[in-house]
């Protein structure tokens, strides 16, 4: 059987020989009514005045320029604040990075602990080096409560070498 394709255009409007739409009477009447209604409406409500488009366009342009400028300023401010935050973050992270190796060595390697102790030693060790010279007290001159306080001090202060002689 021979294939015989036929193109079907169901949406095609009916046309006259001269290419004009071939409207049935009721549709032609509707078309006429539409034209009448449009004429009536535009006669009742015509454009009041011709607006000064050039002026309006200039006003709109200047308003948009102001808006654009405001956006640009806002973008600059946001950019500057972001940059300052980034700078702070960078500074802090660099500072932390400089501290981290010392802490790591302190924790991980006992050998390094030995080498690093002297670095911190001057702040802690001199306590004993700069300790005041030993003082001698005669217990006989002290009253009972004073003596009790002295014993408390001796008990709490372990770092000092103390002795009682009779």
């Amino acid at each position: 059987m021979r294939f015989d394709p036929r193109l079907i255009h169901p949406d095609d409007a009916p046309l006259r020989a001269d290419g004009e739409l071939d409207l049935p009477d009721d549709l032609a009447a509707l078309a006429g009514q539409l034209a009448d209604d449009a004429a009536h409406l535009s006669a009742r409500y015509p454009a009041d005045r011709i607006p000064q488009i050039a002026l309006a366009a200039e006003l709109v342009d200047s308003a948009e320029r102001i808006k654009r400028r405001a956006w640009r300023h806002a973008a600059l401010a946001i950019g500057a604040s972001l940059a300052s935050v980034a700078a702070v973050v960078l500074t802090v992270s660099l500072a932390l990075r400089n501290r981290e190796p010392i802490d790591a060595e302190l924790v991980t390697s006992p050998d390094s602990l030995a080498t690093t102790v002297p670095l911190v030693a001057p702040t802690t060790v001199p306590v004993s080096l700069t300790a005041p010279p030993p003082t001698t007290l005669s217990l006989g001159e002290l009253s009972g409560p004073e003596m009790e306080a002295l014993f408390d001090l001796l008990q709490h202060d372990h770092e000092r070498a103390s002795s009682i002689a009779f």
Binding site: A13, A35, A54, A56, A57
Partner: protein, 187 residues
């Protein structure tokens, strides 16, 4: 095209653009806004006009685009309201307007209020043909579609309009004359 004299162009074409806007949106205030916005777009994009078509067909193109955008916005607003209140609002595609105003009532009595219920392509073709009296070739230029499509849209637009009127007639017959009226005394 050289530098466009906006005020002169407005003097020449504002009335016809306003008339098309009026039948499209249904009230003089929105028509004013729409027509003015059309010319503002012209002021911004006037340099793009290459003069291959008439200036007024180009203006109609701008107007129809603005109208389509406005209707889409309005449709979205209606849908949002419907979601908010979960209430069936009548006919999302209907053209907006201040319902109480006499001007709107007059438009609503006209056939153009029914045209507003048609799909965009048919509605625009009917406006350009029967309100603005453009030739088929000019409409094809404005709507950027083939000549056959323009004729088809006009034919089917009119057929759709007839269906809407028939439907309205049937609805009117089914409604009681005065729904709230107590007729027991007349029996």
């Amino acid at each position: 095209m050289g530098q466009l004299n906006l005020d002169e162009t407005a003097r020449q074409h504002f009335a016809r653009i306003h008339r098309a806007a009026l039948v499209l949106c249904g009230n003089p205030w929105d028509a004013d806004d729409l027509a003015q916005e059309t010319f503002l777009v012209l002021s911004r994009q006037g340099n793009n006009f290459e003069g291959r078509s008439s200036l007024y067909t180009w203006l109609y193109g701008i107007l129809l685009n603005l109208d389509r955008r406005e209707r889409r916005r309005f449709g979205m607003r209606r849908r949002k309201l419907r979601v908010l209140w979960d209430n069936q609002l009548a006919d999302v595609n209907a053209t907006p307007g201040a319902d109480a105003a006499a001007e709107v009532a007059e438009w609503k009595k006209s056939l153009w209020a029914r045209v507003a219920k048609l799909p965009d392509g048919q509605r625009q073709a009917l406006v350009l043909r029967f309100s603005e009296g453009l030739r088929y070739e000019e409409i094809a230029e404005v709507l950027e579609c083939p000549l056959g499509t323009v004729k088809s849209r006009i034919f089917h637009g009119l057929a759709g309009l007839r269906r809407i009127l028939v439907q309205e007639g049937e609805d009117a017959r089914q409604l009681p004359a005065h729904p709230g009226e107590d007729l027991s005394h007349a029996v």
